[in-house]
């Protein structure tokens, strides 16, 4: 049950590695600066960055069609960027500006852009799962062929919402792609101590849902698997779970001193930097030299810098915003 989707070189589309790299570069630049801006007090609230996990967001994001749905978590910036959320509007949101994508009412933990299928980051662990199941139900009911993706961490797997939602996706055979980013930690805890079965793929057998583990720091592998899985969903074969092994370079939240990370662990993961894994391949096949990669990264940095400058210059929301959008009519 755990390997029924293989990244087969014959069926799969060619891997758009250059685009994947560029997306990762954008996420890297965005998260790096957000961490600094948060430290410096320019971004308020809670912030959870996905530095080190860029390949999952980019690989899955690129594998989806434009109108597919994504429901994500407190650590959702990368997923949003990979789905094409406007960098300016997103940065402005983190800055709590009126021109933010949610008019300053959502913030980092709630950035959303339904026009890009992004149903939102979510501050409740596990909440993305039932919501994505609902989106999958809509897609099936309305015969839209849209895939609904739920991103979640391995920590969320212990939540009842995971259990109930995966079972529903299974019995209703919904086009739901379950993407677990297993970054080892849930806050300060090593998730391997919080279950006897740390493999999410194995746990998934309880629902009769096919699942495959993938190297979450290898964007091409993620892309190939996600493409195949999305195609399967679209073909009406029901849900599929991807467990992407990855690592968050930063703390649970920005500022977390991370005493719980054993010596050397982070360093060894940083050695497998998703951008370098991909970059090596790009250089090897001659798709993008080191210099070209540096340019892509600079462009990403400049894009983010421009968004920051713009965000800084924008005003806070009008006070009327506080009272708007509670109800529709």
């Amino acid at each position: 049950m755990s390997t029924s989707v293989q990244a087969s070189t014959t069926d799969s589309p060619a891997v758009p590695e250059r685009e994947l790299f560029a997306t990762m570069a954008l996420i890297r630049a965005f998260e790096t600066r957000v961490a600094e801006l948060y430290r410096d007090g320019e971004i308020p609230g809670f912030v959870h960055t996905s530095l080190g996990q860029e390949a999952v967001a980019a690989g899955v994001g690129e594998a989806l069609a434009d109108d597919d749905y994504v429901a994500t978590t407190h650590r959702g910036h990368g997923h949003c960027l990979a789905r094409g959320m406007d960098v300016d509007a997103m940065m402005a949101e983190l800055f709590a500006r009126g021109a933010g994508i949610c008019h300053g009412k959502g913030g980092s933990m709630h950035v959303a852009d339904p026009s890009h299928g992004v149903l939102g980051a979510n501050a409740i662990v596990g909440a993305s799962l039932p919501l994505a199941v609902g989106a999958g139900l809509s897609s099936k009911h309305l015969s839209q062929g849209r895939v609904a993706v739920a991103f979640f961490g391995e920590g969320a797997v212990n939540q009842g919402a995971f259990h109930e939602a995966v079972n529903l996706a299974a019995i209703w055979s919904l086009p739901v792609l379950l993407v677990c980013e297993n970054n080892i930690y849930a806050e300060f805890s090593d998730s391997r101590t919080l279950t006897r079965v740390p493999s999410v793929v194995e746990r998934c057998a309880a629902y009769g849902v096919d699942a495959t583990a993938v190297d979450g720091n290898d964007v091409a592998a993620v892309y190939e698997l996600a493409s195949a899985a999305a195609a399967r969903c679209r073909a009406g074969e029901g849900p599929f779970l991807i467990e992407a092994a990855t690592y968050r370079w930063h703390g649970h939240y920005e500022g977390d001193p991370q005493p719980y990370k054993p010596d050397g662990e982070e360093a060894s993961w940083r050695e497998r930097d998703p951008l370098e894994v991909s970059g090596k391949r790009l250089a090897a096949v001659g798709e993008a030299s080191a210099a070209e990669q540096a340019t892509l990264r600079e462009e990403a940095g400049a894009r983010v810098e421009a968004a920051i400058e713009r965000a800084r210059s924008l005003p806070a929301p009008d006070l009327e915003e506080a009272y708007a959008d509670v109800f529709g009519d």
Binding site: H110, D113, P114, V133, A148, A161, A165, E321
Partner: protein, 329 residues
Amino acid sequence: MSSATEAAAAERRYIDALNEGMATALEEDERVVVMGIDVGAGGGIFRVTKGLYERFGPERVIDTPIAEMGYVGAAVGAAMTGLRPIVEIMFMDFVGVCLDPILNQAAKLRYMTAGALEIPVVFRMQTGAGKAAGAQHSQSLEAWFAHVPGLKVVLPATVADARDLMLAAVRDPNPVVFVENRRLYGSKGDIDADPLPLGKARVARPGEQVTVLTWGQMLRTCLAAAEEGDASLEVIDLRSLAPLDMETILASVRRTGRLLIVHEAIQDFGAGAEIAARVGDQLFDELRTPVRRLGTPTVPMPFSPDLEKALLPTSKAISTAAEALVAEG
């Protein structure tokens, strides 16, 4: 002439009117689905959804596992993405296992996305004591939902409203908590030609001396009290707690100078308190007597029918309280 139209002429039961409301909603809008435990093939544990499965099929009338967090969350996700689910929580007490999708998702995501997400979902919940169902199957928790911005809360007390408020709730672009009282299921009445909109209270019986404000199953008890007692009572059926039709309430109390609020829910910190507080403030100079409340005392609902009866407000207690107010000033 459809069978629904024919039926409109005759007297029917509350439960049939609910069913008719759902049937009409399913008929008039493809996007409407009904979801819940045994609402489909089984026709509902109380037979409220009887026949809908046969008529609209398993894709529109969807049986779920016992997994409220999952399927209520899925209903919310489906509502964000184009469906208009009517989802049943069999007993209101069971919100203990599935509040998050109501409290943190449905109620808030329109606001947090600055209106980009619309969440037209109806949460049907059956409520109430008086059937010896015990403390875990007898609670009236409408005050909780009224306290949550972003939720509408309706409580049909009449056969007409069972249908009309159901239809209004389904057509509403917002999440609506729809509270059915089990003891009303067998009650009979006519359907109004002209439905009152959601959000308007109704003067169920005009009177002169005391305004008696109530909702749900207690309406019958209050009407009985009006018949039995000596004081002239104006009985108002509130119909919805959110929106709260203060206009109708204030107009009545301005005339009578006295207000008695009656509900089945626990009196302490119940929804009656809000109305008492508002009227006490807004009509401070016009009230002849203090605003009084009559609800259930602060105890879990006991199983014993005798104890249950002793705790719930009776028509006698209502008329006595009303007469006491008249005597007071």
